[in-house]
């Protein structure tokens, strides 16, 4: 049985999932199912989001003005709602990556001292 609590891991994920969502949208617009799949694959399964939590998370980002969405109706197939990052979202992503890098570098130095 692991010594660390599941809550700690869940908090780590919760704190970083929005950063990952913005990062995934940095290059191109994407729809929900695509985001879910890429998040799962790129994170090696670490971010195996419950599907029902992804869309509210995207909408929270939209409410903050970090992403915007629009429907794309193909001639055949399923209509899909695409999300794309806004300028504000891009600035937030840059700031968040800086904080993340500092945190990761700081944590790494502390952990290396313990090895």
């Amino acid at each position: 049985m692991p010594e660390i609590s599941q809550e700690w891991t869940a908090e780590l994920k919760k704190g970083s999932v929005q950063l990952c969502l913005l990062a995934l949208l940095a290059r191109e617009q994407k729809y929900g199912f695509q985001i879910l799949k890429e998040l799962r694959e790129l994170s090696g399964g670490f971010f195996d989001l419950k599907e029902g939590t992804l869309y509210p998370a995207l909408r929270r980002l939209e409410e903050r003005g970090f992403v915007e969405s629009h429907w794309v109706e193909p001639e055949s197939g399923v209509p899909r709602k695409y999300y794309r990052i806004t300028e504000r979202g891009r600035r937030a992503l840059t700031e968040a990556i800086e904080v993340w890098d500092r945190m990761a570098a700081g944590t790494r130095r502390v952990l290396e001292a313990a090895r």
């Binding site: 729809y31 929900g32 199912f33 599907e51 029902g52 939590t53 509210p56 903050r64 429907w71």
Partner: protein
């Protein structure tokens, strides 16, 4: 196993009271997701709906973002305002008090309960506005009593202080529960 239509129907029902355009957009997006999910998993409806999660819980997450729609919020303000009128203990018809204290006290309790519900369910902003609407209702009721009973002694100074205090509490009760819920149920740190 819940069929897709039944699943989406449950989500839609649980979104009741939200802005209809937002409801439609949410259901349409979930429908689109389920179509993609079914295509990816070979048509296993049970697995697709299970992966999305309990429809009521899914709807609750959206409710936390969008709250109630404008028409429902207006209805809350009207109910709070009308109940506010009924909380005034000084309404007279001739020499008879038609709203003695104990009846108005019942309406004060109903108003408090309603404001707590609005604040928790629709957010502290809707709660504050409902509380203010209750205050306006009380003032209107009191004003009507003064106009209808010119020259009569309607309320003692202590009674007037209590009147203002209860009115002030309407706004506080409209604000506090929603604010407390927001603080306790705040989603994890956001960007």
């Amino acid at each position: 196993m819940i069929p897709v239509d039944a699943y989406l129907g449950q989500v839609r029902r649980s979104l009741g009271g939200m802005d209809p355009r937002v409801q439609e957009d949410i259901v349409r997006e979930l429908q689109s997701h389920l179509a993609d999910s079914l295509e990816a998993n070979g048509g296993d409806v049970g697995a697709a709906t299970q992966a999305l999660g309990d429809p009521v819980a899914v709807a609750r997450r959206y409710r936390e973002i969008y709250g109630y729609g404008a028409s429902y919020r207006r209805l809350f303000y009207i109910v709070a305002g009308v109940t506010g009128i009924l909380t005034v203990p000084v309404l007279f018809a001739g020499d008879e008090a038609v709203f003695p204290y104990f009846i108005s006290a019942i309406f004060v309790a109903i108003e408090f309960a309603f404001l707590i519900w609005v604040s928790v369910m629709a957010g502290n902003r809707a709660g504050i506005l409902s509380g203010l609407s209750g205050v306006v209702g009380r003032m209107a009721g009191f004003g009507a009593a003064i106009v209808a009973n010119r020259g009569a002694f309607l309320i003692a100074p202590d009674g007037f202080a209590a009147f203002l205090l209860v009115s002030f509490l309407f706004v506080i009760v409209g604000w506090l529960p929603g604010k407390a819920k927001q603080a306790w149920r705040r989603p994890g740190a956001e960007l």
